[in-house]
């Protein structure tokens, strides 16, 4: 956070989020969510590699096509 914003927030009686909540959030992110994201990114890249050679389009075979 930039100092200007921090100073502004502190001037408004901002208080810190208690550490235990942040720790809980971080643990869930690190142990569950980030591995899921990593797996999803890997899976997307694998599927993209497969689909790159799909011949998705062709020229019209008739004017009615």
């Amino acid at each position: 956070m930039n100092e200007v914003l921090k100073k502004y927030l502190n001037s408004l009686n901002a208080h810190s989020v208690e550490k235990v909540s942040i720790e809980e959030y971080r643990n869930e992110m690190v142990n569950k969510v980030i591995p899921e994201i990593a797996e999803a990114v890997k899976e997307r890249q694998r599927l993209a590699a497969e689909s790159r050679l799909w011949p998705v389009t062709r020229p019209r075979t008739s004017v009615e096509d």
Partner: protein, 487 residues
């Protein structure tokens, strides 16, 4: 012969006059039924502009049609569409409207190419005159010069495929990239010939007939055009995640190149339509905004633009959203945090927020997310200053963040129906997918949490917003424009 001809449209049958005014090279027998079928009765006059030089057709004429044994003309005809207040004076060669604001009564143009087959060329039509078009559509403002007037209109580019040198996938790429060059000054204009050549891994020695296109060729076109394409493919295991990402990127204002592998067809997805019925769910877990979608709006080169593809059943193109099996989103540089990461992170972030602000829980929670720029977010905050309160507005104005941000909105089922939210989070679109703290800040009705991302240990400050308590916080409808049907 006159350069301009006016056709008054009192009823649908008046389009038949075009049959005698258009040479056979422009295939009026096919054009007139398409206009009758797809254009609303708001159009009450069509101005024909003969001998029009169209840059996109000329790019294919110079590089392909002029090399053929059959003689092709080099000129096109442009059809301009107006409402009932506009009239044309043939002796003065001028258009006039009752209020002197011609562009308020202009619905766009359609170029006709002298190619005999698939003759609809570069077209910019307002979605407001397309029968059945509805919902929200990505649009940019286009400038049109006509009879000494400079007219502006909102729309999305479209054309028919050429059938030989350019197939539907080239046209989908062209539509998207022409939108980019009109919308964003850093993207240069690419003509049909350029797009066709960019699809090749090497120069085959000129423009040659195409046998079709593979996804990697479309990806190459977007790469060479200076975008950062991301391919997302549907799996039978979790198809809903595919559609959530599709909606997220669409709502971000990125038109999508959509492939239908089984149908051998590609279209540009440019908008969506939400159902008028509220979301109903028996699930105990959260719902995504996708669940209220009744249709996606596409530019399909077999139809006039703004075709509505329904969630289920078949549309004009005889396909539905279940036929979409892959899409390419041409992202700008610096959108590194993908939609699939937001999809998962947003739920965990919602759990954290629920400790500090009232949040819907379980099956009552609806989540929506999209990309916008920090500048657009600040503009939104400025416009909605009285709703959001001075503390939040001042904080966002002083926030140092990257150019692109993900916006995540949390609402209850009832709030979603009313177009309001419980909370909004703003994430760093340049974050790594492995960053545990990708959030810049989040706010509810009474508090905001700002994360100190200069520290590794995730410190955050909560600040009271002091905003008016009885005022709801509206959903951000930021990147798409509503279709306002003109009948």
């Amino acid at each position: 012969m006159n350069m301009y001809r006016w056709v008054s449209i009192g009823s649908v049958s008046d389009y038949d006059e075009l049959l005698s005014l258009l040479d056979s090279e422009f295939d009026p027998q096919k054009i007139v039924p398409r206009l009758k079928d797809a254009i609303s009765t708001a159009v009450r006059g069509v101005l024909l502009e003969y001998n029009y030089i169209d840059k996109d057709y000329r790019s294919t004429f110079y590089n392909f049609y002029s090399k053929k044994g059959r003689t092709y003309r080099s000129d096109c005809i442009r059809l301009h569409f107006f409402d009932e207040t506009v009239s044309f004076n043939e002796s003065l060669l001028d258009l006039s409207s009752g209020d002197g604001r011609l562009e308020d009564h202009y619905f766009g143009y359609m170029v006709l190419r002298p190619t005999m087959v698939a003759t609809i060329g570069r077209s910019i039509l307002s979605p407001n005159i397309r029968k059945d078009a509805r919902g929200f559509v990505i649009q940019s403002q286009h400038r049109v010069h006509l009879l000494g007037h400079r007219l502006h209109l909102w729309g999305f580019p479209s054309m028919d495929q050429h059938t030989d040198i350019a197939v539907c996938a080239h046209v989908a790429c062209w539509s998207i990239l022409r939108h980019y060059s009109e919308r964003y000054p850093q993207h240069r204009e690419l003509l049909v010939h350029d797009i066709t050549m960019m699809a090749h891994q090497f120069d085959p020695g000129g423009l040659v007939p195409s046998n079709g296109l593979e996804i990697n060729q479309a990806e190459r076109v977007f790469q060479q055009a200076g975008t950062y394409p991301l391919i997302v493919t549907k799996t039978s295991k979790m198809p809903e995640r595919f559609y959530r990402q599709l909606l997220a990127y669409l709502e971000s204002g990125f038109p999508l190149f959509v492939a239908m592998h089984d149908r051998g067809h590609a279209v540009a997805a440019i908008g969506h339509s939400r159902s008028s019925l509220p979301i109903t769910t028996t699930s105990t877990s959260s719902t995504h905004a996708w669940n209220q979608l009744e249709a996606v709006v596409v530019v399909d080169d077999n139809h006039l633009p703004y075709t509505v593809v329904p969630n289920s059943g078949a549309a004009a193109g005889n396909y539905s959203l279940s036929d979409f099996d892959s899409f390419i989103v041409p992202l700008p540089e610096k959108v590194f945090y993908p939609a699939e990461a937001v999809d998962r992170q947003s739920i965990t972030l919602g759990n954290l927020l629920s400790k500090f602000m009232p949040m819907p829980v379980g099956g009552d929670l609806v989540v929506r997310y999209f990309v916008t720029t920090l500048a657009a977010l600040r503009q939104y905050m400025r416009i909605n200053q009285s709703q959001l309160g001075q503390v939040l507005v001042n904080s966002v104005m002083q926030l140092q963040a990257a150019q692109f941000v993900w916006v995540v909105e949390y609402a209850s089922l009832d709030q979603w129906t009313d177009g309001v939210i419980s909370a909004r989070a703003v994430l760093d679109a340049t974050a790594s997918p492995y960053d545990p703290y990708p959030t810049w800040f989040a706010h509810g009705h009474n508090e905001a949490i700002f994360f100190d991302r200069s520290k590794a240990d995730g410190q955050a400050l909560i600040v009271p917003l002091g905003r008016p308590t009885a005022v709801s916080i509206g959903r951000m409808e930021q990147n798409l424009r509503p279709v306002v049907a003109r009948k």
